[in-house]
Amino acid sequence: MLRRSIVRVSQVKPNLLTGICKPVLNTKNIITIINSSRSYSTKLSNYEVPVEAKYDNIQDYGSYKHNIFTHRLPESSASQSPPLVALHARLNLPSSYSLSTLSQALNLNRYDDGLANNFGLNVLGKNMLSYYVNEWLLIRYPRLPMPVHNVAVNALMGPQVMYEIGKQWGIEVDKSSKLDKFLSQESQFLKYGRLRFIEEESKYPDKPAETGIYELTNEEVKSLDKQNSTFISEEVNAYSSAVIAIIGGLYTHAGEEATKEFINNHILSRKLPLENMFEFSQPTRELVRLCDKLQFEDPIDIRLIAETGRLSAHAIYVAGVFCGVEKLGEGVGSSLAEARTRAVINSLMGYYLYSPIDNEGNEVKLPSDEEYKFDGIIGPGDIAI
């Protein structure tokens, strides 16, 4: 199989009449690349792929077939796409992972020259990712409150993070229209290695793009967070979809073990700032209620441990939370109230962020690990105030 990550471009000269660069020389083994600097505006969401399918029998899962007529990219075409080959190498994917699947994972368009899109790969990848991320969190941080757990899942596999990962992987968006590609005589193979989510008709804007104005699509309006005026852009969604589909593709070609390792290496290796994800409204009440749930017999007692002196220039107090003779937490503050609150929050965080270890002091094994033995704890659920 011919795999090339190098492309040759011929001499280019600006064509003053059209304003578009036009190549002058073209020989057989030379491919010209001119990136059009046209801006684009997308109007219609095109990655919400309908899942209408026909089947012989509802339980005959093999007979399901999408109603849209598509085909898969031949491997011979895919292997001639330098960005695709480079992406394959960059991610260290196994050789069994075919380039055509990788190319399919990058395609979100419903009708992209009749090529199959990444819908199925994405669903598969999402299931994989969702299981392994949740399993990791549930075992490693069993006492996280559910709202924080959900935000933590999002911090590991939400669209924004997947977008960052896609960017880090060096995935580029296919922005140029067919006309641009024709005029610049760009190789048809290049786009197979690029992220395709902009529909062809959107690549010809009916009005010039105004600087500083971004028109939201319907999908983007739905994701609008009015408090912070943030939204998940189509591009973010597209990157996220492609990254997840690449993970799904890994399962189809290399199996579940390889997928798990890939998720471990690329996603679970990120730093999760869990301690910054909590917001307490009534920490003391919460702590009292929590001790009630844990059936602690002694009442909660907040006591002053040390102070610099009330009359010192900048008084500092150290408060501790005690339950009987057990010290649950400690906090430093410049007033008694501050020290008290910090102490209570410190003891709550000590409980919520607990991570179990086994007898040898190592992290406990995950259910999907070999020779799994249950060593940790199961979260008993949050408390209600």
């Binding site: 899962y61 093999g62 199925g120 069993p142 017999e297 199961i378």
Partner: protein, 253 residues
């Protein structure tokens, strides 16, 4: 309205405070007197657990053969899990204001594993579709049946048909008494997810997948089709599409 007075004292565990306060050497016995209130709720009063921890069907919360026998019978010896864990599986967040260990984290684990298992299950069937990737037909993903296999409705019905939801500790949020309208369906489904989650926690993913295959897909060894998940899911999907069709027809008329 009535109440009872209970004293919490631990004289046998009396401890010396001299470690904390130098030199005093006094012995300190913590003792509390608590009034437990019965009847209607009064703000600030602690309610008597005898009354609070009763399920809506009158089962008393706790580890007892009556409470656990349905789950134990379903799991049998092969997938035996601890009694505390079964009780946690059966307890919903709404029970006793969430003061007892409940099944939220268990069901999170179980739901994700079921999603993954059925995604793998449906794509790995032999297919004639020319879009297969390495023999896996991805076109089936996203179809109603593929979603419903691990969906709430079919899981809830499965739990009901297998009597797994006979004892559940939860609080109905409405006065409706229907299986679905009272929320019992959702709670039953959550118990199913939690059960799978509990097996995953106890024995690992491989055994849990074997459990799904053996007990949920094969229908617990008995031949009755109504106990099999795939049959249930098919009925759920077909009745949903039939309802949709008739609605569309009515609209057209």
């Amino acid at each position: 309205m009535s109440g009872s007075i209970r004293q919490l004292a631990r004289p046998e565990k009396a401890f010396n405070m001299s470690g904390l306060r130098n030199g005093s050497g006094m012995t300190y016995v913590p003792m509390r007197t608590i009034y437990l209130h019965k009847g209607s709720r009064v703000a600030g009063l602690k309610r008597d657990p005898e009354e609070v921890f009763l399920s809506n069907k009158g089962y008393k919360y706790g580890i007892s053969e009556d409470n656990l026998k349905y789950i134990k019978g379903f799991l049998q010896d092969k997938y035996r899990i601890s009694d505390e864990l079964i009780l946690q599986v059966l307890t919903h967040k709404s029970f006793g204001n969430g003061i007892k260990p409940y099944n939220e984290k268990l069901s999170a684990m179980g739901a994700k594993l079921l999603n993954l298992f059925f995604a793998k299950y449906v794509v790995n069937k032999p297919s004639s579709n020319e879009l297969v990737i390495n023999g896996k037909n991805l076109d089936v993903l996203g179809s109603p049946i593929a979603r419903e296999l691990c969906g709430k409705t079919s899981m809830g019905v499965f739990a009901k048909n297998n009597q797994l939801n006979s004892v559940m500790f939860w609080k109905p949020n409405t006065k409706n008494i229907g299986f679905a309208s009272s929320g019992e369906l959702t709670i039953s489904a959550q118990v199913m997810y939690a059960l799978v989650g509990a097996i995953t926690f106890s024995y690992g993913k491989r055994v849990a997948e074997q459990f799904i295959e053996e007990k949920i897909l094969q229908g617990n060894g008995n031949d009755t089709n109504s106990n099999k998940l795939e049959t249930i899911a098919q009925v759920v999907v077909e009745s949903a599409t039939a309802r949709k069709k008739s609605k569309n027809q009515q609209r057209a008329e």
